[in-house]
């Protein structure tokens, strides 16, 4: 039995999906200018990542592995994730217009978010159980949101900083990300 706490802490801090695995960088830099939109994007990612882990696990374990179709996993995962995101978008738009307004604009962006696909592939690679996969997906989502929130906080303050012209906007954001990643590396010393 895998230790769920170890998976969770590992996914949130030690192997933070953005700062140590380099997944989901496009939204990390694209949607981190304001804390409010960072929070919206973060919740959408947590939700989709958890569900995607739960859906791809049975498909991989009961459909691909028994028939020796492991090599089809890239195609299968991406199609399943894309379909799922589309469905969610339609359902939310119809039944929860308020939520759609808050999350809707981030959903299409998520299909090509490599973090979602990356987590599904990592679950398969590490051979987690269903519960392990879901916990890993959820925690990776939390880790993503945490990094995004920290980053947006920093960038909101940078607005008022006197940054050299050539470093304005993206370059300084990358420098901040480097310092953030350096800070997160301290977690790798934890004994789990």
């Amino acid at each position: 039995m895998e230790n769920l706490l170890v998976i969770a802490v590992g996914a949130i801090f030690v192997n933070n999906i953005v700062l140590s695995r380099f997944l989901g960088l496009c939204p990390f830099f694209g949607v981190s200018k304001k804390t409010s939109s960072a929070l919206g994007m973060g919740s959408a990612v947590i939700f989709v990542m958890t569900c995607a882990s739960a859906i791809t696990w049975p498909i991989y374990t009961y459909l691909l592995l028994p028939f020796n179709l492991e090599f089809m996993r890239t195609v299968t995962f991406i199609v399943v994730i894309a379909t799922f995101v589309q469905l969610i978008e339609m359902v939310i738009r119809k039944y929860k217009p308020g939520l759609y307004k808050a999350l809707g604009i981030y959903l299409p962006l998520i299909t090509t978010n490599c973090a979602i696909m990356g987590v599904a592939l990592l679950n398969a690679e590490e051979g987690y159980s269903l519960i392990g996969s879901v916990v890993n997906g959820f925690s990776a989502g939390i880790g993503f949101t945490l990094a995004l929130l920290l980053m947006s906080g920093i960038r909101e303050r940078l607005e008022f900083a006197d940054v050299p012209k050539s470093f304005q906007d993206l370059p300084i954001a990358f420098v901040s990300a480097a310092l953030l990643a350096l800070a997160f590396m301290a977690f790798s010393g934890m004994r789990l």
Partner: protein
């Protein structure tokens, strides 16, 4: 109504055709490369086996190999794997029947280049040779293995992986 069905089919059929073609193309590619991939994987295992027991021949058992030299059993080899710093570490471990490690060789790992990857270098792996399995721990954890500077996590992971699996095999072969 018929118009509607026609419209939906017009959208669905091209998508289905693309999926079928893609499935067929992939199956064909898989068929082409399958043997080659298996050979590559087998070769990795054979290479690591031959480095831990020089000149021995191996008989595959359930989950370990028995190493023999001219008909005489000299030890066991087995694959030990677990999570390191950056992902799964797979090692081949050789052990004499008395519980001494004969050698360790890394089959695959994905640790940090320049730091964790040094666990695959002989300077590190040679330390295991001739050590009792109880002693396979880092020095700071009360064992006899020196960690690689800057890669304590990877070093500790590999000692744990090797020791835990060795204890299991030790009990099985007794």
């Amino acid at each position: 109504m018929r118009e509607e069905v026609k419209r939906i089919l017009g959208i669905a059929i091209p998508l289905i055709i693309i999926c079928i073609i893609s499935g067929a193309a992939l199956t064909a590619t898989y068929g082409l490369t399958e043997e080659r991939i298996e050979a590559v994987e087998q070769q990795k295992i054979n290479e690591s086996l031959s480095t831990i027991f020089l000149g021995a021949s191996f008989t595959e058992m359930d989950d370990y190999y028995i190493a023999t030299v001219s008909g005489e059993e000299i030890g066991y080899a087995f694959i030990a794997e677990g999570t390191g710093y950056g992902g799964t570490i797979r090692t081949m471990v050789g052990m004499y029947p008395n519980g001494t490690i004969s050698g360790v060789s890394i089959i695959s790992q994905s640790e940090t280049p320049g730091l964790g990857t040094r666990i695959a270098e002989p300077d590190f792996t040679n330390q295991f040779s001739g050590k009792r399995i109880e002693g396979v721990r880092l020095r700071r954890d009360g064992g006899v293995i020196d960690a690689i500077t800057g890669a304590t996590i990877s070093s500790r992971a590999i000692t744990d992986i090797v020791r835990e699996r060795a204890e299991v095999v030790m009990n099985e072969t007794r």
